[in-house]
Amino acid sequence: MLGSNGVQVFKTNEGLILPTKQSLMELYRMLTEYTREFANTDVMHYGLRYEGILTMLESRLQGKRYVKGPLENALSVSEELAFRIMCEHPFTDGNKRTALISAFFFLIMNLDYVNRNTGKRYAFLPSAGNFDLGAQMERAKQMELLAAWNDQRRTRELYEFLTGNGIRVRSKNRITEDHIRQYLRKFLKELVVEN
């Protein structure tokens, strides 16, 4: 999947980096290889389930209006990645992992753009070495719970979790895409800290 000239991404005039299908597939390939080290899973099972989802994701990200502040724009790209990959399952396996890692990766890639355009110095905890075992496990469990929304599972637990974290949801039967997105954004924003 690696191109002879490198991995292609898109860049807006302001410098915001957007993923391409190629970059997401390369991330997935590397993550799959990495997982092979410790998971007792059949790597042959991994692959692309439906390429159209990544094509749509790529064009959806290009079609967005990035008119908010730099940090909000960067979070918006990563939220879209996390939500779409987690819920639409472009890959045969490992979608939650790929959703998180690709959201993290493009947030890191966009920190230069954020810092340049805000004059601040933001860092991303999962890449700054301050993401300890407890924090990693907590985020992994949260991701698992959020992903259950798509299959209408664990609705009471999810409802209590969302409301407990300040997301206003009327009842456990009324959890919407917007609620999940709100939490994903909060989740990602908490990992970006100003130095």
Binding site: G3, V7, K11, G94, F105, P126, Q136
Partner: protein
């Protein structure tokens, strides 16, 4: 009302212009590998589910 006000609603479509850029294979792999190493336990947890 005295007089009439007329106005036109103008719709401005904002399109995002993007250019394609390449990240070298080495830089891409190095950045991804570093991220994976720093989030190893999170990946391990999700992989075993």
């Amino acid at each position: 009302m005295s007089g009439e006000k007329t106005g036109k609603v103008r719709t401005v479509k904002i399109t995002v212009q993007v250019t394609s850029v390449q990240i070298s294979n080495g830089e891409f792999q190095e950045r991804v590998k570093m991220l994976l190493d720093k989030n190893r336990e999170m990946i391990r947890y999700l992989a075993k589910k």
